[in-house]
């Protein structure tokens, strides 16, 4: 496909790839190692790149001091429900945008683009007032509704890319066989779309799991906080407790990393299928 590689070229390529991998992995390694040191060892010289004594003290501290289990549960509930509902809703809109031409189509796509240009902070005040009117402040359902809206534009675009890769003939055949369009969508297209749907859900889940500013604005009681809010709480004081912070960071990163490892190929496909066709 590309010309023969010289020995020097090969060496340069390998060195570069290895260096970049090391640079990418190191921060993750470092926060994990920090979290596994005894609290006192974190602040001792020389810095240990592989601790002599591993300790889970930071983790027990984290769950004793802060109600971290509750935060994790809240994040899990909110991200799962919002991610799933947003995926379902986006499937419908993505399907229509992939299969039909209509007058308002480009306006709708522009509207999705514009949501990306407006800084979220401009909306926070009115959103808070709206949620107050709806009696949904400091309420997981409220946060779920907002997150669904946040996820929809991107999820729609991503799923649209997947739909466009599936030949129309598939559901047309099903419709000739007498299925309604809705039934054709669910019985024929869904199974084919499974990788795309999984990728879209995981993407939504990770977005909601990581979201900070909306959560900080809408959730004020300890029982309803999500993990990023808790992490933010750790830094508002002057001294950051790096022991608990590193343990909390590991707990926040690990689930999303597992999900990405599981579906990274599909996510890559989802991100690129809209932009590049080959």
């Amino acid at each position: 496909m590309i010309g023969k590689e010289t020995a020097v070229g090969r060496a340069v390529r390998i060195v570069f790839l290895v260096l970049w991998l090391a640079f990418t992995v190191f921060p993750l390694y470092w926060i994990a190692i920090t979290s596994l040191k005894a609290p006192g060892d974190i602040f001792s010289f020389p810095l240990a790149y592989w601790p002599e004594h591993f300790s889970l003290e930071n983790y027990s501290e984290l769950f004793n001091k802060a109600d971290f289990g509750t935060y994790l549960t809240n994040s899990l509930i909110v991200a799962t429900v919002a991610g799933a509902v947003a995926t379902a809703i986006s499937m419908l809109s993505a399907y229509v945008l992939a299969r039909f031409e209509f007058r308002t189509k480009s306006a709708l796509l522009t509207a999705a683009l514009v949501t990306q240009m407006i800084p979220a902070f401009i909306a926070l005040g009115p959103l808070y007032l709206l949620m107050t009117d709806l009696k949904l402040v400091d309420n997981r359902l409220g946060l779920i509704l907002v997150y669904i809206a946040v996820c929809i534009p991107f999820c729609t675009v991503m799923l649209r890319g997947f739909f466009e890769n599936i030949p129309d003939a598939l559901e047309e055949a099903a419709m000739i066989d007498g299925l309604s369009r809705f039934a054709a969508l669910f019985r024929v297209l869904l199974p084919v779309m499974r990788p795309g749907i999984v990728a879209a859900f995981i993407f939504n889940f990770v977005n909601c799991w990581n979201e900070l500013f909306l959560s900080v604005t809408l959730m004020n009681s300890d029982a309803n906080k999500t993990t990023p809010t808790a992490l933010n709480g750790f830094i508002s004081s002057f001294n950051i407790d790096w022991g608990s912070m590193s343990a909390a960071a590991v707990f926040t990163i690990l689930p999303t990393m597992v999900l990405f490892a599981f579906a990274s190929r599909h996510i890559v496909q989802g991100l690129t299928s809209g932009a590049v066709k080959g």
Partner: protein, 329 residues
């Protein structure tokens, strides 16, 4: 909300894409259906679009529009008795703020200093990943991991690594003999800016790499073969075959990333909080600070300036790169 911001790819990309697609790959149904216009079809489109449209209208558009009009009002959480219209006063207060110059300069440094290394390294990675090798799939999955982490948390990870006393960056640099004494990275405005840019590069390279890699894989082999037959060297092939061919992807990826990096206060918020002394604030982190002070009018004015700036940039950028795109198809 980094990933959501990524969204922009789709809508903008879809048009040029079709030109790039293989001719005849998708003929028939789309053209056929365009002509068939029935009420039933309209109802179906409306019904399928409705849930998405309602959610985005109520929870995204309504608050954004309501927030925008605050830019023209006196709207201060500390004094809600008076929310009168004040015209352009809030904009005036933004421009006359002593921090405005610094913030504007920082925003420029942040966007350019993020885009350039991300594009260059991402392009290089994509070129080098084009060749198949064992574990390439694993490699791609591993370098994709930064994308699973929130910008805020990335800020925290790097804040810890750049810690002046116990940070691993200083330790490594000292071991390598590059510095004699620990550097107070986040206490010095210039060094703090360099540190946040390194963190953002760590995060953002992957996106360029995967988008460019996907585009590279769409370049037909025959083009390379022809170039080789003509005796074109590596550099010439790159600049005259590869780059022109994937121009659309390059242009749109850069555009999307600029919009996104502009609107990405999360990382700086977690890493420096805009400090030391407001010296690493970009427009959007400064907006957070002003919001937290309760001055919603001024913050909204700033937000509208961001939107105006990005729209202008989008138009100019697309105009500047348009001609060559048409040549391609």
């Amino acid at each position: 909300m980094p990933a959501t911001s990524a969204t922009t790819t789709g809508p903008k990309t879809s048009r040029p894409v079709r030109k790039q697609a293989a001719p005849g790959a998708r003929n028939g149904p789309r053209g056929g259906r365009k002509r068939e216009f029935t009420t039933r079809r309209g109802l179906l489109i409306a019904a399928f679009m409705a849930p998405a449209a309602i959610f985005v209208a109520v929870f995204t558009y309504y608050p954004m529009i309501a927030g925008s009009q605050m830019a023209f009002r006196h709207w201060d959480l500390n004094d809600l008795t008076n929310t009168s219209w004040v015209g352009l006063d809030n904009f005036h207060r933004v421009f006359s703020d002593p921090n405005w110059g610094t913030v504007l300069g920082n925003t420029g440094a942040w966007v350019i200093g993020s885009i350039v290394p991300q594009l260059v390294i991402g392009f290089a990675l994509a070129l080098w990943l084009r060749r198949r090798f064992r574990f390439r799939g694993v490699y791609q999955a591993l370098i994709f991991f930064p994308w699973a982490i929130s910008g805020f948390l990335i800020g925290i990870l790097f804040r810890w690594m750049f810690n002046s006393e116990f940070g691993v960056v200083n330790d490594l640099l000292q071991k390598a003999g590059l510095i004699d004494e620990p550097v107070a990275w986040l206490a010095d405005p210039h060094k703090a800016m360099i540190a946040v840019l390194i963190a953002n590069t760590w995060y953002g390279v992957t996106f360029f790499a995967i988008m460019i890699l996907a585009a590279l894989q769409s370049v037909p082999d025959e083009l390379y073969e022809a170039a080789a037959l003509d005796g074109a060297g590596k550099a010439r092939t790159l600049f005259q075959i590869t780059i022109p061919y994937i121009r659309v992807t390059l242009v749109l990826t850069v555009l999307l990333r600029v919009i996104w990096i502009f609107n990405f206060p999360d990382l700086i918020f977690g890493m420096t909080g805009g400090g030391p002394n407001n010296q690493t604030h970009i427009v959007t982190t400064w907006m957070i600070k002003i919001t937290q002070q309760g001055d919603y009018g001024k913050a909204s004015a700033l937000g509208l300036l961001v939107v105006a700036g990005l729209l202008l940039f989008t138009v100019f950028f697309l105009l500047a790169t348009r001609e060559k795109r048409e040549v391609r198809s």
